[in-house]
Symmetry: C2
Subunit: 549 residues, 2 copies
């Protein structure tokens, strides 16, 4: 339903995090979309590969109203959903040069690069989208170059959306934040501020990227052998720092891992990586070179067993064998939930003789998101009438809301929302209208949204106790069991050592069918689950297969 002459803001995507992957701005029959990212599934989303925002439900009757998709920066959780979104709607994309390059890379993997309308903008530009939204892009600092915030002028007033940001006075690449632009916007009068809450429960300032330079220098200075650094492919700023530090210490750098290679190549092609001549080499070119002249940037910072570092940790990497003298540096944060696998990889690297640098004290990683003092500074510069904390879980949004109250924004002008919450703004004020489905959709293999709660529940049961199949043949006329039932299990018990239990299960099925021939499925299910629970305290999925003979 269109809303004439009223501004609406709807955070749409993020797994627990509000408005992280997607936000919609509406005015009448005009929709502006900010970002289209993916999230990685949580532990209990069994077998799910990716999670994307449920834009389908939202856009159902609004597909023709989308005036543009504005992307704040080139990280997966902001661009990864574009191939799925563009499969459903046609709308021009607006992004800065590096962001556009990474989007193009992503779309080309889905064979979609040619059909997208990708418009390159620069910080400072203003673009009119559909004649209604006027979007100004302003420079912010984050852990990837070319990140922008958005100043969106609408008929109802000015929205400022920070994107992901921190106030870094000495960034690894490019200029410090554009405080001037923020102050100017504040002076112009901001109706709504939407600001990054990722670190809103973190006191103080987030350290500058420059502090990582010092950490890396120390590592390179002390390392006697090879230095292997694990980081995200998308942390282009970190890759830059590593290349500089390695070059300073007369080491060449090889990139190990396809996703890293691709984004490094793209960033370099577009001029966003400063690589001294001869420093970047191919992995095979390391052969014969002395260890103290070698640095390797590898994928696998989250402990993924199939990534480069994961294979090194268990001795399954074809080119690189970890040995005493190697230094391994974990130069990225551990995504919550990955602590166990990352810890295991670190232990395995130690076991193979490497020195592993992974803790906070070593300054080999800093966050790309603003902490409390920076968030307060932003609120003071922008001076919004209304405040919507975004990009964070509810607990972070509540912390951020508390900061805003401390800065003098009236509590009734602060809105802690959930995904799908529709906020409306007009001359009378601001109000929560309704909550539309603003959840997420699972991508599993090539299927988008074809698995739901029932399939996940089945996977959960199967993952806990496996299944037991009872194949029974019944005489079509007499209803009597023909032959012996066949009991087949997977993921339940080790069968060879439990033949006795399996035999008793067969007996149980025969007896149950003798007592209750009218509903053999239920009889088998009930009798087997009773027996197996009492014998093993387990509850496998029981599948009766009844065949009429």
């Amino acid at each position: 339903m269109a809303t004439p002459n009223k501004l609406r803001i709807i955070p749409l995507g993020g797994l627990g995090e509000v408005g992280k992957n997607m936000t919609a701005i509406e005015y009448g029959r005009n929709v502006l979309i900010i970002d289209a990212g993916v999230m990685f599934p949580e532990h209990d989303m069994l077998g799910v590969d990716l999670v994307i925002p449920d834009y389908t439900t939202y856009l159902k009757d609004k597909k023709d109203w989308v005036r543009g998709i504005v992307v704040t920066h080139g990280h997966e959780d902001h661009i990864g959903g574009l191939p799925y979104l563009l499969a459903e709607i046609q709308a021009p994309i607006y992004a800065t040069r590096l962001t556009a390059g990474l989007i193009e890379l992503k779309l080309s993997k889905h064979q979609m690069a040619s059909q997208a309308s990708l418009n390159i903008v620069a910080a400072g530009d203003r673009k009119s989208l559909g004649g209604l939204f006027d979007v100004e892009f302003f420079h912010v600092c984050h852990s990837i170059p070319d990140a922008v915030g958005l100043a969106i002028r609408t008929p109802s007033g000015l929205i400022v959306h920070t994107g992901d940001f921190k106030f870094d006075y000495t960034p690894a690449w490019g200029e410090p934040p554009d405080f001037g632009a923020l102050a100017r916007l504040g002076h112009e009068g901001v109706l709504v501020l939407m600001s990054d809450s990722t670190n809103a429960d973190n006191p103080g300032f987030t350290p500058s990227e420059k502090t990582v330079d010092e950490g890396l220098n120390k590592v390179f200075r002390e390392a006697k052998g090879r230095v292997i650094l694990a980081t995200f492919g998308s942390l282009i700023s970190r890759v830059q720092q590593i290349i500089h530090a390695a070059a300073r210490h007369n080491r060449v750098v090889a990139i190990d891992g396809r996703s890293l290679e691709e984004s490094v190549q793209r960033a370099q092609d577009l001029g966003y990586l400063d690589v001294p001549p001869g420093v970047l080499v191919e992995l095979p070119a390391l052969k014969g070179r002395p260890d103290h002249q070698i640095a390797i940037i590898a994928t696998g910072s989250q402990g993924e067993p199939s990534a480069a570092l994961g294979r090194m940790a268990v001795g399954r990497h074809k080119q690189i064998t970890i040995k005493p003298g190697d230094t391994v540096v974990m130069s990225s944060r551990v995504i919550p939930g990955n602590e166990q696998v990352v810890g295991r990889a670190i232990n395995n690297l130690f076991k193979r003789g490497a020195r592993v640098i992974y803790d906070r004290g070593s300054n080999v990683h800093v966050s790309g998101h603003a902490s409390q003092e920076e968030l307060k500074l932003l609120l003071n510069l922008v001076k919004p009438k209304y405040f919507i904390p975004v990009h964070g879980e509810l607990r972070h949004l509540h912390s951020h809301a508390e900061l805003a109250r401390q800065q003098g924004i009236p509590a009734e002008n602060i809105f802690v929302l959930e995904n799908g919450a529709v906020m409306e703004f007009d001359e009378k004020g601001a109000r929560f209208i309704e909550r539309i489905p603003g959840g997420y959709v699972f991508v599993d293999g090539s299927g988008v949204g074809d698995i739901g709660p029932q399939v996940l529940r089945d996977r959960e049961i199967l993952s806990q106790d496996g299944f037991v199949l009872a194949v029974v043949r019944l005489n079509g006329k007499s209803g009597e069991v023909v032959g012996r039932p066949q009991i087949i299990t997977r993921g339940f018990v080790y069968v060879k050592e439990n033949m006795d239990l399996i035999e008793r299960a067969e007996e149980q099925v025969i007896n149950a069918l003798r007592r209750n021939g009218t509903d053999p499925q239920t009889a088998i299910r009930k009798s087997l689950s009773d027996l197996l629970y009492s014998e093993t305290q387990r509850q496998p999925m029981i599948m009766p297969v009844v065949i009429d003979n």
Copy 2:
């Protein structure tokens, strides 16, 4: 095999953590066991309830040699394996009074309390075990009262084992650590020190339990409504602090959660909890009492959905409905791997209007394990000849080993071991002998060790993509398919929306059997997995059920 006149030390149990749950000390035909704990499974140990040390393999031909089981303190990861161990061997247990009380509670749940020989000791006691091992118990501080370290005199020399400890000058219960005893042992001459490495990568000192008093006081002072505190049942010292803080602020305390109630009751019965009269009440007695006079200690600090706090978070708790004004305090550490579920519970509590206090800055939890400066002090007091860091993952042991080197212990006298590593000590020195199976055993339901890698691998496949069952009847003589194959799936796709795929799968099976009638199982498996992968990019477990008609 017995080893006459030689001392052997074998760390035996712990999931990634070395010697955490169990350690064996051997001399000839004499075995002393230190602790018998359980661990909680990691994420990829699907359906596993508990993990216990693989003592069975170690004790196979040594069951009659065990002179005693010495338990350092009453936490699950040190006592939880006793019921399983005592099912295999008969040996007297030695523990302090509170530890013994908690062991008794544990054994009685397994109907084993009467058959165990439980001997109560006190810090300062010396006991001769089997005439060979002379064990002195010395007082240490940890997050549970009555924790001890061990000084074990053997014919080859003195072993000092710290158990879990920190150097707390102002503990929540009892005396500061017995520095005098440690110095005396150091003076006597220590052959081997085995010391807690849990926090060996943490610089500085671990804060005293007293700092939590301040944090809790602040919470109680500021809270307008009810205060609900989540902690472990076994953190008896924390329960004590909460009761004191609540009483100071004129609140009664109710315990919510069976495991908590039981251990609190036991600690109180034994005189290890100081409860002012009238402060502890039953949950139903809270009815009608004003909110600002109420405190509740609840289970569920790890986000467990079925524990008290988990049920409150999703609105499924029968007696307690979270409402604005409530303050929830997470007063325990988050076990690595539980961050996601704990975060989700916190978000849900915020959503229901509670203020949730969960971060480091609020001083509502401190670790019970020594940090680097404490570990250095211990090394200086005990001055061991040989050093074996224990109770930690490999990365912590390596940090601890580095500290020991800095304190002047020669690198060749420091042994970073893995579970099952056999170290031998005699007049000639110390040496690594061999590695025996020192892994772990899974407990699933009532089954101990009856699931192994194959069952877990099947559960993994099932958890990712479910299964597809193809039931086919073949004519016994002609080998032709009778009727139509039946395709049944669970955890694979949402069937109602994929009828077309299921029908194609049926066709595929018929065609495959026409082409290859000699090995119908393989034909079905191969053809179905090809079709399903190309259509969905998923790899469910495929189960052909072929019935001869």
